[in-house]
Symmetry: C2
Subunit: 339 residues, 2 copies
């Protein structure tokens, strides 16, 4: 064991600054949880323990909103418009981007400053770009922990943004209270291209760009989505009318307040009905399970000895020298003795 690079008191100080609502402390804390250094990981876990809130009362919890939509759908404009509306209501807003493959904003704050020029300058807003893809434990861990930190820092609303490549939507849904899907106006044919999976995750589908020449198409598209949502089995956990499809124009700032109103209605209903608390509890249990499994599987790649052993066995089973079952048994034994 090497000595921690940062003395415990410094972690305590960071925790204090973060809970006190300092943006700089929050930024440093997220950098800490993204670090791949083992000593930083130790500090990160201590920090997470220290900022742990009492979550018994859900009225004190942040509203975590997952937001997905393909590039070009107007996500940045929507976040800018939606975020500024919340800030103007006196709410504190954090925006986390999770797309690890994004060249646009990957690691660069400048990108986000440009695409959300007003929000990035608002004192009550915090914007954090996508993590670099070699974040320790992957993007899922970073996102979960960053959300926890934003919540501990007292943000009222946390927007978790993804472009929806691969499994990222499911992951974001696993850390969100409400999930928004942003769509562009489209012809009827394109509607079918929406994956059923994401339709089932979405609480509210927002058809954006309901302005100018696209207004009519947006109205039709919205009706189509509303129909598609009705065909899906209604979720027992939701009140009448949800999931729902809505029209908005982020550019003209129209419909944005209505989206927020519906989010609040759904969130309050879930809080009062107990659905909210149950979902949070089950998300935490899933997170725990996934962290444990990821930690176990990480043993296969962490040490060079094991990586080489895996490689040798892989060659041997590929050329038929050793039975895969026997090779697996031997490797598991080796893991126990080296661990």
């Amino acid at each position: 064991m090497s000595a921690p690079e940062k003395p415990t008191s410094e972690v305590a100080e960071l925790a204090e600054g973060l809970v006190g609502g300092q943006r700089r402390a929050l930024a440093r804390a997220i950098t800490l949880i993204e670090s791949v250094k083992p000593s930083h990981r130790k500090d990160a876990l201590e920090l997470l323990s220290r900022v742990r809130q009492e979550t018994g009362d859900n009225s004190k919890q942040a509203l975590r909103i997952g937001l997905s939509g393909t590039p070009g759908v107007g996500k940045s404009t929507f976040i800018e418009s939606f975020g500024m509306m919340l800030v103007n209501k006196g709410l504190r807003v954090a925006v986390l981007a999770v797309d690890p493959s994004s060249a646009r904003s990957g690691g660069s704050i400048l990108g986000d400053k440009t695409r959300m020029s007003l929000l990035s300058r608002a004192p009550n807003a915090f914007i954090r770009p996508s993590p670099s893809s070699n974040t320790l434990g992957g993007v899922a861990r970073r996102t979960r922990e960053a959300v926890t930190l934003c919540e501990a820092a007292g943000y009222d609303v946390i927007l978790i943004e993804t472009v929806g490549v691969g499994q990222s939507e499911t992951m974001v849904a696993g850390v969100s209270d409400i999930f928004l899907l942003l769509m562009a106006p489209a012809g009827g044919d394109e509607l079918q291209g929406v994956k059923r999976g994401i339709m089932e995750i979405a609480d509210i589908i927002v058809v954006n760009k309901a302005d100018g020449d696209l207004k009519q198409a947006a109205t039709r598209t919205c009706a189509d989505y509303a129909g598609a949502l009705r065909l899906l089995r209604k979720r027992a956990r939701d009140p009448d009318g949800f999931p729902k499809a809505m029209l908005a124009s982020a550019l003209e700032e129209e419909g944005i307040a209505d989206v927020w109103e519906e989010i609040e209605t759904l969130a309050n209903w879930r809080k009062e009905s107990g659905v909210w608390d149950k979902a949070r509890a089950s998300q935490a249990a899933d997170w725990f399970q996934q962290e444990v499994e990821a930690g176990l599987l990480a043993q296969l790649t962490e040490s060079e000895t094991i990586r080489n052993l895996m490689q040798n066995y892989r060659s041997n089973v590929s050329d038929g020298t050793v039975s895969p079952s026997v090779a697996a048994e031997n490797l598991l034994k080796a893991l126990k003795t080296t661990g």
Copy 2:
């Protein structure tokens, strides 16, 4: 460590009988790999090492045929008819059922004796019903190891049958050289119900029941599947004309020989082009990887201490007392010290 229940010489004897082609030895060997007793597992791994063939020459390998189709499609009749044709050609045929949820044949040999009355009495055929669902390491491990044992016992063709519930087709495809999908005649609407995934796995779609009143519908259905297969991206690894859709009547024993001919054409092409060897090598590597991962994750459920610890942490993270990341870290530490 308890003393092995079966002395090493007995495993050697079993291996000898199996390689010598004794059906009884093969049956006992499969029972051994299905056993949940740790001492049996030790013997099973020794057995697998002992019967390991030189696989350098693929002309000596069995032809492993995966066979899927929903209940009612005539799978038993097809296997009976197809298997008897092979036996009559002087080939030795093994049939493995993999469906763990099947109440019909689950663990009962009688079921398979009834549904394949001729084949089950043929001296050159070996039929093994579905394993019980609490087979050690799951149905995937049992299937892979049973296939290896049948191959070591000198069977020329191994039919691996699944009803295609959940992930079983992917698993069976992962242990097969050729994959057949058996379909019933259907209206055009039903065609769309076939999952894209299974269309992509299938090398040959056999539209069965092309007899009597259903003959016309079968012909139409076959043409529809042929069209659907053409729409899928052609696999670089296959010769022209594959994957293909064919008509057959297992009941009237029509088209069965043609199916076999196409299987042989495809198998020979793959053997000569190197695709066969590459696929076997990659299947073995996947098997190894999956066994290692399953073995690691099994640590979470094997010991009661760990199971209880998991349960406690799960409660703590659910009620918000502990951060999931911190709980996971602590559990992983506990696993290292108890392991």
